[in-house]
Symmetry: none
Subunit: 420 residues, 2 copies
């Protein structure tokens, strides 16, 4: 089952709004086993709309159109649809009734402009808009079944969920489905991930890999189309493929459930009933922000000290004045004392710390931009290590520093789980 999405409206082509509707539809359709092969966005121009509808009606089975159902002059979808299908528009009494009741309920005045919204192509069936005035509709044009929806995301989503899904399931035998597994990979460039997985296509016929680089993380997707032939062994095939991919990428797979690094660290801390404190200098609160983006993080995250000034490092984390005078703020010994200080201050089981040079300024020959010392302290130990990254970009450095610190903790927690 192949689908096309047609997003209409000048505001999209002018860059005034980002088309989130299409992403929503792609995900929702994927879950129904319907594959979107193309998304098109065009402006509010009658002939363009009509010709695009005709082209699509000859190319694919399903099309989902958003926008252009409103009461204003630039809302041309139903007219374009009538032009493309050669069907006259007539007043759809069901649509009119549902609009009038919607207006009554809210005490709005029903105008002639609104009546225009109830003019639908002859053979079309109306789709109720539970969240706004513009009714939607669906109809077959040539070989393709078209669904016309409002452009307002909240209205479109509700119409899809409550009206269109039913139609799809009844009209079609939706047997094809897609299995997707997501792996979160950190610590390898995309090219390296690709080359490590080179053998995949030969080993796993009918499956493919997708890569999404979201710096500094790479998401590897294993995609399997469930067909009539493979439907019984699909899950086991996926399991085998996943095992193979994880083995190729070794310990660089942060989560084989598609969790973020912060989510995975949170999962491990919860599982092991441990708590966390953080001491940040160059990452400036980014680690804490990542950790607290996870709902429920208050169960294990106690405290973070963002100590930018040396005084704060000493006053809050009890970093020794001697240490800073002898070695400077960016040094493994400082990182070590920061982690120990944060851990004690918060009474936490573990603490991680960062001190380094995020740039663009502040670098020296022996302490260049991109250098960071990361500390890790636990019940019976404390250690620190220096890393050097080579980004000039302040944001990229903060990201790399923060992720590397969390990754150190993750690996420690994993090793604990193994030895336990």
């Amino acid at each position: 089952m192949m689908a096309h999405i047609l997003s209409t409206g000048d505001e999209v082509l002018l860059g005034d709004i980002i088309d989130t509707n299409s992403a929503f539809l792609c995900t929702a359709l994927k879950e129904l086993g319907i594959k979107v092969q193309k998304i098109t966005a065009v402006g509010d121009e009658l002939d363009t709309l009509a010709s695009n509808i005709v082209d699509i009606s000859l190319q694919t089975d399903l099309c989902f159109v958003t926008g252009g159902l409103g009461p204003t002059r630039d809302d041309l979808t139903s007219v374009a649809c009538s032009k493309a299908s050669g069907q006259a528009l007539e007043l759809n009494v069901t649509a009119l009734a549902s609009m009038q009741s919607y207006f009554e309920k809210r005490g709005f005045k029903f105008t002639k402009d609104n009546e225009k919204q109830a003019m639908l192509p002859l053979t079309s069936k109306m789709l109720v808009n539970h969240n706004g005035t513009a009714p939607g509709f669906y109809m077959k044009i040539n070989q393709c079944l078209f669904f016309f929806m409002p452009g307002v995301p909240s209205e479109m989503k509700l119409m899809f969920e409550q009206e269109i899904k039913k139609v799809l399931v009844t009209e079609f035998d939706l047997n094809e489905d897609i299995l997707i597994e997501r792996l979160t990979v950190f610590g390898l460039p995309e090219s390296k991930v690709g080359s490590l997985l080179n053998g995949f296509d030969m080993n796993f016929f009918g499956m493919r890999l997708g890569f999404k680089a979201d710096f500094p993380v790479i998401e590897v997707k294993i995609i399997l189309s469930v067909t009539f032939q493979n439907r019984y062994k699909a899950d086991s095939d996926m399991a085998v493929a996943k095992k193979w991919v994880v083995a190729q990428l070794e310990n660089k797979v942060v989560s084989d459930q598609g969790l973020t690094l912060a989510q995975e660290v949170g999962r491990l801390l919860t599982q092991q009933k441990k708590t966390l404190a953080i001491a940040e200098s160059c990452t400036g609160g980014l680690i804490s922000n990542m950790v607290t983006d996870v709902a429920g993080s208050s169960d294990y995250f106690l405290f973070s000290a963002v100590t930018y000034s040396n005084e704060a490092k000493m006053n809050v984390l009890n970093v020794q004045k001697k240490t800073i005078l002898e070695h400077g703020a960016v040094h493994e010994k400082t990182a070590l004392e920061m982690a120990q200080g944060a851990r004690l201050k918060a009474g936490a089981d573990f603490a991680i710390s960062t001190t380094g040079i995020a740039g663009p300024g502040g670098g020296t020959d022996d302490k260049p931009v991109g250098m960071v010392c990361i500390g890790l302290a636990g019940p019976s130990f404390a250690k620190a290590k220096t890393y050097r990254f080579s980004f000039e970009d302040r944001f990229k450095n903060k990201q790399m520093f923060a992720m590397t610190a969390l990754e150190r903790l993750r690996r420690h927690l994993v090793s604990l789980a193994k030895t336990a």
Copy 2:
């Protein structure tokens, strides 16, 4: 000048990412006076890519392609381009050299897979990627000039700004020069901003407004096309228009220089030679992260305590046990003591604090999700205020809380500057 945008990648059609690249390009091209007539998104499938490139090459003058330049197997753009243009791929030495230097700088290992990225169609010209490994390129196919860019937004944007703009201005007679002023607005919904500025078109002929909502901030752009007629008075016209817009939006304009709120706060602190400390609970480090995203923030930002646990609030910030027992962690009195504690601990001139319910869990009837108490402490005062926002979304709440705290500080600093 008509343009087409072709966005490639399975991740778009699978709904895994929202295509923000196209919106960026639409806006950037509009500013150059180039109108986008169509956006198309297709997956990583060689024949589909090639046939779409051919179709577009016969329909329009300009096409901007994003994605598919990476080193992995699902990166097929250059191959598709060669198929569509009938031109062989050959190793582009300039591309190879620039990639190798990029790798050297960062101490990455240059692999065979990366070399693939330097294989470009014969007559194509390379476009430098200042922010990643994949070089872009541009070439004419039939009547259309194609620009091929990476899909990673940060890389794509930089390539467009620093490489492609030059080409467009020289290759085409883009006689129209454009003046743009950016205003950062916080505290109003986009619809309200729009209606407040309704009179603009009537008052300022030949100028137009652009709006970009980047939650929770709205960027208002004033765009003036410099023509032969108005070139002498363009600057003064812009000044008048800007003054009018600022007046309409009153104190909701955070910066009339397009600075972020954190940058503007940093600018004011530097100007007034003051220092800042922060105490965060529900914002979990987000404020500190925003503040330290500004290069040079170490000049005024001293310390932030992310005190998630009550113990941390008491131990680190000297919040009174009595206060928490009587009023709870989410209360103006707690926020007040947090701000005072952070200020004293760091020896800072000012401190801001947040304590609230970010959600999705943890809300009660009298302390619902979206409620936050924000404290502000200075040399001779300390105050706290409660705000209620109505988002269920944890990220949106953290954003609103953090921005509202920074905005309180900004307004205080502005009032000081006025009275000084």
